[in-house]
Symmetry: C2
């Protein structure tokens, strides 16, 4: 029996930059300079819901949420963005592949206090900007 | 030293009905018949972020997310709502008290594929309707 292989959804690949692999997930920098925004994608094929993961993998996902929560604070500091709240969410209404957003928010951000998903249009990083941010985690 | 006491935020109290306490959280039925929607509130004082919880409590929160994910499917069946996706999210931009939403979604729901938070106005349950739904979990 062949195990299905993890393949990153092309929409996630196109809208974010790989930082590294954590205990279960690939952590990626969302290409949107409006918010310090990381995306965790469990490197397991054919999962759509958190409860589709084994309990062991759910625990590893939680560990990665902790790690990403600290990483997004580092990112926010480099982007001169004051973190007042984290938003940690699995929606997946558009991209079916299981992924969890970890986003820094404050009351001066463009969508506050509403959710960021579907709000306006992504503002991509400028030339070289994302390399500087990715280097934070090297 | 007095330990701070858990007190439910009055806005959460006013917009939802208590179902019961789980391993860490109070699980409540959101008073909005547009979606099968549960809210988990860790019964621990003065927490705003998932990472503000101890690791043991984070693990209990994860267990409660699993329980609530199954409960929301039961709720959806009773509301004749086909579950195509769960949305599991801690935002907390408006109500600071740590809480996690567990919401059933499908491509016929009013906000699909956008997020539900801040979308239109809550449609409260009709007289007796919420009792029938709360009774599902007795």
């Amino acid at each position: 029996m062949n195990m299905p292989t993890f393949i990153l959804d092309p929409r996630i690949a196109a809208s974010s930059y790989l930082i590294r692999s954590l205990s279960l997930c690939q952590v990626r920098l969302q290409n949107d300079r409006r918010w310090p925004w990381l995306v965790l994608i469990p490197e397991v094929a054919d999962r759509r819901e958190i409860i589709d993961l084994s309990e062991a993998d759910q625990t590893r996902l939680l560990e990665d949420v902790r790690t990403a929560s600290e990483m997004v604070k580092t990112l926010a500091a480099a982007m001169d963005f004051e973190v007042q709240k984290l938003n940690v969410a699995n929606l997946g209404n558009i991209v079916a592949q299981l992924h969890v957003h970890v986003i820094a928010r404050n009351d001066q951000d463009p969508a506050w206090p509403g959710p960021v998903w579907g709000f306006g249009t992504a503002v991509p990083f400028e030339a070289g900007e994302q390399e500087k941010l990715l280097n934070l985690f090297k």
